[in-house]
Amino acid sequence: MSAQTPIQFYDQRQARFKNRLFYSLVAAGGLIVMAGLYAVYLMEHHGHIITGMNNQIVWGIPHVFAIFLIVAASGVLNVASIGSVFGKAMYKARASLAGLLSIAMLAGGLTVLMLDLGRPDRIIVAATNYNITSMFAWNVVLYSGMFSLVVVYLWTMMERRMNRWTKPAGFAVFAWRFILTTGTGLIFAFLVARQAYASALLPPLFIVISFAWGMAVFLIAQAIIYAWNGNAIAPEILQRMKNLLGVFVMGALYLVAAYHLTNLYFAHQSGFERFILVEGGIYPQLFWWGYVLLGNILPLLLIYLPGQGKTKSITAASLLVILGGFAFLYVFIIGGQAYPLNIFPGYQASSSFGDGQIATYHPSLYEFMLGFGGLAIAFIITTVSVRVLDFMPHDKPYIAD
């Protein structure tokens, strides 16, 4: 074959192209991070008046982004746990990539959460004055603990001399992330006075929903990494992973349904459910079209319909699950605050402070800039790490286990 020289030439050109692509991707991510920081500067300078948030909707778009990233950061570790805790070889090969994605998303989510504070310059106060009864204070410990634990876990996997510690580290991460997502759910579950939140179903709901979102993020990252390296993922492996995504999506949908059905059963909650599921304008729209249809039904069809379930449709399904996740959180966080507090049961209330009224919220561009800035941080950490270290799954010849 005389084609040796042209092949070499082609490879070099492709390598150079990939190099350029890598740097442009990092630069694009950097620009989005800069835009996010600019929004933070403006929010610090002018106050939160430039956001759409107000005294009724106190948590807005930044919290939707932050909570998505944090919940998905916990859920993506499922892949690692199935490998390290339950000993499945194909997941073990993917544990380090899952750990990396977790750290990246945690960093992005926490940055958004922190920079949306009224006084982010005082963040150190959260460490020096610790209120043991506050779920937020507990979450500060849970988030930073998880961050360090996953770093150690990655170290035990990537440093050969530390390999024997991988299993205990994997166990620790496995336990920690359950407690962490329970904590995230409890932030809302402990709000006894709010119709939307005071429910013991929220911690398990957040845990199962984290499985689905984390799996979706993982499948997208995996597809991109395989495509980048010109490899094709073994169909048996993809088959198993897409089935797992399908199970998680169905589990999450079940718990969301249970949450709404239990609310519907309590007479005093039916007004809220009517608002969030039927009459609330954008919230029922986003819930039914965004979360249920685009975020659940369509992905399930893409996964299970005969003829579907190939890489492209799995990636599309994963993207839809993520979009559905954002829709769910918008309805849950903002819709939940928009419905008025029932301060005087049995009375119709009105005031200058939004009592008895549905609160309005028009997210501003700055909030989106901050949110996307967080996504970009996660993107940059992942892209650079995958480039400089070996996070590519190395599958042994597949054996069903």
Binding site: H48, I49, M53, Y130, F190, R194, F344, S352, F353, H362
Partner: protein
């Protein structure tokens, strides 16, 4: 005997004089800055009894007095709008936009507000002031990550503006929606009531007035004397005697927070 060192005596006199001139103003300022030195008493439980039958619909005197006392721009006098408009068009979201038509913005701090109520089953209408209920078991204090929300020994729930990081979790937790977040830079603050952009604030029961033996501004301003302020723990106080003799309720008593504010005629 005449060995007295005049020079030394002069030196001591001058030194004493200089020391007094240098230290005294500082001591004075130190004293002023620290105010009362003795801690508040835990035997006292400040509270209010609000007689809704005496509260007139449309009367806003308590709100105006609060805004004036605490230096809130408040909106009751139609203050200037924010110079920075919301960059996104105010597209209809299917929700109620009536707040925008009033002079108050949904971002304005309201430490006390008037609520108009209508009994759904009987149609009876009433009006009452709503503010921080100064709970014995305040959810805002429970959830605050930095202990910025705290309860004073005498039952007043306050926010330490130096510790508040502006996370707004207390606003999510308060069953009475009593708290506001400072969304804009502040100007011309009342020196007795320091506030801060990016922090959360609420009715302080006019703690600076209470500490000087005065009544909260709203109680003083009510033309019908509908707000009775006093020490719930003192059996001789007017409020304790009235709470013991007339029917009064705590709002959302089902939550068992034991608020210090009670309502009569609700």
């Amino acid at each position: 005997m005449n060995d007295i060192n005049i020079q030394r005596r002069g030196f001591l006199k001058t030194s004493l004089g200089v020391a007094t001139v240098v230290i005294a103003p500082g001591m004075l300022l130190f004293d002023m800055a620290h105010g009362k030195s003795q801690p508040v008493s835990g035997k006292v439980r400040w509270g209010m009894l609000i007689d809704t039958t005496q509260c007139r619909e449309g009367c806003n005197d308590c709100v105006a007095a609060c805004n004036k006392e605490n230096g809130l721009s408040g909106g009751t006098n139609g203050q200037a709008r924010s110079p920075l408009p919301n960059p996104l068009p105010q597209a209809g979201e299917g929700a109620n936009d009536s707040l925008r038509e009033t002079r108050l913005k949904s971002t304005d701090s309201q430490w006390i507000r008037k609520i108009e109520l209508k009994d759904v089953s009987s149609g009876r209408e009433l009006s009452l002031p709503m503010m921080c209920q100064h709970c014995e078991h305040p959810p805002c204090v429970d959830v605050c990550p930095t202990n910025a929300s705290f309860k004073r020994a005498d039952g007043i729930v306050l926010v330490d503006r130096h510790r508040c990081i502006g996370c707004r979790y207390c606003m999510m937790a308060c069953p009475y929606k009593a708290r506001s977040f400072v969304h804009e830079p502040l100007h011309d603050q009342n020196p007795d009531v320091p506030r801060g952009k990016g922090t959360v604030e609420a009715c302080s029961l006019c703690v600076h007035r209470i500490d000087q033996g005065q009544q909260p501004a709203c109680a003083e301003a009510c033309p019908n004397k509908a707000i009775l302020f006093g020490d719930l723990n003192d059996p001789e106080s007017e409020i304790a005697r009235k709470v013991g003799s007339v029917a009064s309720v705590q709002v959302r008593a089902d939550l068992r927070l034991n608020p210090g504010i009670r309502y009569q005629g609700l």
